[in-house]
Every structure is written in C-alpha cells, then in structure tokens.
C-alpha cells in the first residue's frame, strides 16, 4: 500500500470515527431530555435585552427588527438595542422608524466591528440575559420563550438556537440549506456532550453576568461568536442548544459572497484555535479538547487533502484520456463488464461516509423541522459542495498562516 493510500485510509478512518462518535452520542442523549419541570419558563420571566449590531444592513434590518418586535415576550421585560456600527448606507434611517416603540433603543457609533457593537449594548443594559441577532436574520415568535427556560440550569452561560436558511433561492442557497441541517445536528449534539464551541450570531443568548465577568466581547479575527464560546468553555461554563428556538437567516446568494463569508469563518476558527491551543488535547476540557476541537481542525486539512487527491486523480485521468485519444483514436466503449466495477476498500468506506452524512442531515432535519426528510437539494449538496468547500478552506489556511486578517464584507 502506497503512502497516499495510507494517508487516505487514515483520514477516512478519523472522519468516520467522528461521525460514529456523534451518532452514538445522539443515540445516548436523545432520550435523556431535560425534565419537564426544568423546561418551564421561570416565573417571573427575566429581563432580556437583544442587541442587533448593524453595518450596512438596509435591505434586511427592517424584517429583523419586525420579527423581534413580534416575539412572544412581555413588552416591559424585553429591550431591543439596535446598534448602528457606522453604516454608510441608510440603515440608521430605517431603524429610526422603530424608535417610537418603547422596547427599542437606537445607538450609533463609528465603525469598530461587531464586538464593539455588542459591548456598547452590554454597557447600556441591566438585563439578566443578552441576546444577539445579526441584522440578516429573523426569529419565530416563540423562539425567546424556548431559549429562556434552558438558563434554568445555573451552569449554562449561553444558549444557541436552531438556524434555518431563509427562503433559499439560488442553487448555492439550496446547498447551504442542506449544510445548515448538518449544523443543526452538530449544534444539538455538541451541546449534549458539553462541547459547543460556537455561539452563532443569529439569536444566541448569554448570561449577562458571565459575559461581564469574562470581560465582554473581544476582537477575535472577525469571529467573536467563536471566541466568546471558547472563553466560556475555558472558564468552565456550559453552552446549551435550544433546538425549538427557530431562527431564519439569510445566506450568501453568490459563490463570491459565500467564499468571502466562509474564508472569514474558517480563518477566524484557525486563528482562535491558535489563541486557545492550550485547550487542545487537555483532559480538563473532556470531549471538547480530546475529540471535538481536534476533529474541527482535522476536518479542514482532511477536506483540502481529499479535494487535492480527487483533483490529482481527475487530472491524471484526463491526461490519460487525452493520450488515449491522441494515440489510439476515439472508439466506442465496449459493453458494460462487471469485472471493471470499482470495488476498492476506499470506495466502500467513502460510500459508508456518505451514508453517515446523509443520516446526520436527516437527523438535523428531524431536530430542526420535525421531519426526517432531508431537503430535496441533498444530492446536489453531496455531489458539489465538497468540491466548493476546499476553495475557502485552502484560502483560509493560507491567510491564517500569513495572518493576513479578513474583513466582514
């Protein structure tokens, strides 16, 4: 067996091991739900503030704020802190439409990044819990009431929601719709094994006292939601998931926009991983440090390797085909012969891996929508997305190595 085959087998083994581990965790935890009495909303309900950081969000911010105003939550206990982070479009003008609502407070400041907007909100509220909603997302009216009871566990410092893609339109958005189902599963199961390490921008909630104790949000390579989660984990807090709290978020329509977003996410993850490298393999952090964080890093490099290997194989096959035509002419292929069907062990393992991913997507759909049926675009996702992902993984790795930094837009 050549070195290439050994590397391929090893990477496939680790990939499938992680998928099996998550599935086992799911089977173990799906029946160990939080008891009903602990799920009940606290009485009286706590004071909650939701910060909406905006930077040039004129197209979506109106829908976002409207969805927040429609939240099923006592008006006197809900604050909406809309922070215009130095927008250069008419975002500020649009949000001013909401200033008459008693729940809304509007702030404007020079552009400083999402963490500065979040900190401004934090400084201007005394709410017990602080939420964040990116201005490209909207929430279901009962979402907040699904989140708050999860904080009944005093060790929970943050709660993440269930994020679905809002009205997927383009082919890319449909593929992201499938990807988000996978993320729903991951978010759910990582919380179940105490290993969530991202508190995504759309509608994650935080215990304000913990955020203050930890020093508020920091600049973190344009991925503040990841850094805050890692800091909470490092300080020993739990990050939970409320799969019934539904949020719809806009996703990039074009490959260019998607590429930029994902380079930022991956770059941020890599740089934060370097900043928090002490957590890797450190037994103190259990599953998070032994399995989850190493797997998250591993998946980046495995994705790039598999892509490179497939491309290398495709280039070799193309050269071979060109030579075959050049030297042997074009001939009709002979009739189908079972003898030549590829039955290599690697291919069997790849089939198993794809089947497992399909199962995870299906479980993500079950958690997020109540139906096991994966989106119709799942075959498209399985076929094409793995060829797109390495583009931004590769770009992010190069940028992370050279510390080039990334921008939001």
């Amino acid at each position: 067996m050549g070195i290439g085959a050994i590397i391929t087998f090893t990477l496939l083994f680790i990939s499938i091991y992680f998928e099996v581990f998550l599935l086992m965790a799911f089977l173990q935890h799906r029946f160990s739900r939080i008891p009903a009495h602990k799920q009940a909303a606290p009485h009286p309900l706590p004071h909650v503030a939701i910060i909406v950081p905006c930077y040039n969000e004129s197209e979506t911010v109106r829908g976002t704020v409207n969805s927040l105003l429609a939240l099923n939550y006592p008006k006197e206990l809900l604050e909406l802190l809309i922070v215009d982070d130095g927008s250069t479009d008419n975002t500020l003008e649009i949000v001013q439409e909401f200033k008459t609502d008693s729940r809304v407070r509007i702030f404007t400041k020079p552009n400083g990044g999402k963490h500065t907007a979040m900190n401004l909100g934090l400084q201007n509220t005394s709410a017990e819990f602080i939420g964040c909603l990116d201005a490209d997302s909207s929430v279901a009216s009962d979402a907040l009431l699904k989140v708050i009871p999860v904080f009944n566990n005093a060790r929970v410092a943050a709660v993440t929601p269930c994020i679905l893609v809002r009205e997927p339109d383009t082919m890319l958005q449909h593929m992201q719709n499938v990807e988000y189902r996978l993320s729903i599963f991951n978010r759910f199961i990582l919380a179940a094994i105490g290993s969530a390490f991202i508190t995504p921008g759309p509608f994650s909630f935080f215990r304000a006292a913990v955020v203050r104790k930890l020093g508020g949000w920091r600049y973190a390579h344009s991925t503040e939601d990841m850094e805050m989660a890692l800091r909470m984990q490092k300080d020993g807090w739990l990050i939970a998931n409320a799969p019934n709290a539904i949020v719809h978020t806009s996703t990039p329509r074009t490959l260019r926009a998607l590429f930029k977003q994902r380079v930022r996410w991956t770059y941020g993850w890599l740089r934060n991983a370097i900043d928090y490298r002490g957590m890797f393999g450190n037994g103190t952090y259990g599953n998070l440090s032994i399995i989850v964080l190493p797997s998250a890093i591993f998946s980046i490099f495995a994705g790039i390797y598999f892509f490179a290997r497939i491309m290398y194989g495709a280039v070799r096959a193309s050269i071979s085909l060109v030579r075959r035509i050049e030297y042997g002419g074009i001939h009709m292929p002979s009739s189908f012969d079972l003898f030549y069907v590829n039955t290599s062990a690697v291919l069997f393992v790849v089939y198993v891996s794809i089947a497992l991913i399909l199962l995870l997507i299906s479980l993500g759909s079950l958690i997020g929508t109540g139906s096991k049926k994966p989106p119709l675009s799942t075959p498209l996702f399985l076929l094409l997305y793995s060829f797109l992902t390495p583009l931004w993984l590769g770009a992010a790795v190069v940028r992370a190595i050279f510390k080039t930094g990334v921008s939001w837009r």
Binding site: H29, I193, N287, A345
Partner: protein, 233 residues
C-alpha cells in the same frame, strides 16, 4: 426535539466503542474488497484455463486433420478470442489495491505462456495453410522505466479496435519467464522499450498507429476482410 445539555466529561468507553464500530466498518470494507478481487482473480484463472483447453484442442484438431484440411482449420479456427480481453483485465488488476501480487504475477506468467503458445500455433497454421498472418509482438515494462509504454499501449489498443482480426501479443519484458526470454533472444529484442516485432523485424521507440500501418501495409487488407473468415491472414 427538547434541549439537552451535559458536562463535557470525557467518556472513554464511548471513544473505544466508536473506535471499534469504525474498525468494523473498515474491516468489512477491506473484506468486501478482497472478496471481489479474489472473485476477479478466479475469473481470470477460469478464462486462462479455458484458453489453455482451446489451444490444446486446436493443437489436437490440427494434428488430426493435418495439411489436407486447411479449409476446415481456417473456417473452424478456434484460436481463442478470449486471449486479448484478458490482457486488459490483467492490466486493470495491476492498478487495483488489495490484489494479491504473487497471485497476479503467477497469472501474468501463465498469460504470457498462453500468448506464446497461441503465437506458435498460429504460425503453424499459417505455414501449413499458406496464410500470411499479421501479428505484432509488443514488449513493454511497467517498472517505471518506459515513459512511452503507456502511449504505445494506447496506439496498439487503437489498432486492435480498428482491425479486430489483428493479434497483438503484449509481453512484460521483466516478467522473468524462460519461454519469454527465449522469444526475446530469438528476435534479439534489446531492453530499449517500447519495442515492437512486426514481420520478424524489431522496432524500438514509440510508434503511432500511422507508423505501424506504414510498416505493415497488410493491416490495410485486414480492414477489408470479414470477421467470418479466418482469424489470421
């Protein structure tokens, strides 16, 4: 689904069980792959046995009928048609991981012998029945020391497809078989591969389909011959 949150305590039991499940998945994949590879080897073996019987049968038939029945020989020629597809099957097996290399080498040696037998028998038929066969002996190496062998292989495959009655005998120069070494010595083929033997003359280096057609104009006659006639002319 309801929220679930737990501590992140490492659960070594789960890690080990997940490892065992993954190992079982891999072991099953390797077992399945080996099963199919062994089935392929068995297929090739069975084909080779059939060819061996064909050759023996033809030799016997040839001896029985002797020279006065050339017509019967050519019309009922049983020079195996399975021998050529076997080459591509063996080439395919060479590219597959997990194939028993010793077994594959044994099959390749056996195949080489069958080709030589086929070649000799064809020459006998040609001599006694006054036929002018067109065949090409192709010597290659897949040790990585023959950069043009892949291209030469394509050119010969192209020719075989263009002239279905042309017989191309491919020999791995390094297979280490005494009978092949004798054939190499008879034609004085040097280790400058790829090498072709056409009408008892050795040609070294890459030769395209056009080159070979110019060397062996009899090929053009094959193009107009019918498949129902003798295999060789």
């Amino acid at each position: 689904m309801e929220p679930v949150v737990n501590t992140r305590t490492a659960r070594w039991g789960s890690y080990i069980v997940a490892f065992l499940i993954t190992a079982i998945i891999f072991a099953t994949a390797v077992y399945a792959s080996n099963y199919f590879n062994n089935k392929r080897i068995a297929d090739v073996q069975a084909t080779q046995d059939n060819i061996s019987i064909d050759i023996l049968s033809l030799e016997t038939q040839f001896d029985l009928l002797a020279e006065h029945s050339c017509e019967d020989i050519s019309e009922n020629s049983v020079l195996s048609t399975e021998i050529q597809p076997l080459a591509s099957r063996l080439s395919y097996l060479e590219t597959q991981q997990g194939v028993n290399q010793d077994e594959l080498t044994r099959l390749k040696r056996y195949y080489t012998l069958l080709q030589i037998k086929d070649l000799l028998l064809m020459q006998q038929v040609a001599n006694k029945c006054n036929l002018k066969p067109v065949n090409i002996l192709y010597f290659y190496s897949n040790k990585g020391d023959c950069t043009d062998c892949e291209k030469q292989g394509y050119a010969l495959t192209g020719l075989s497809e263009k002239y279905p009655t042309l017989r191309v005998y491919s020999f791995d120069y390094n297979i280490g078989l005494a009978a092949l070494q004798t054939l190499v010595d008879i034609h004085d083929v040097k280790n400058q591969l790829p090498a072709l033997v056409i009408n008892n003359k050795v040609y070294y280096g890459l030769h395209t389909m056009d080159d070979i057609e110019k060397i062996a104009p009899a090929l053009l006659k094959l193009a107009t011959s019918t498949a129902t006639s003798t295999k060789v002319r």
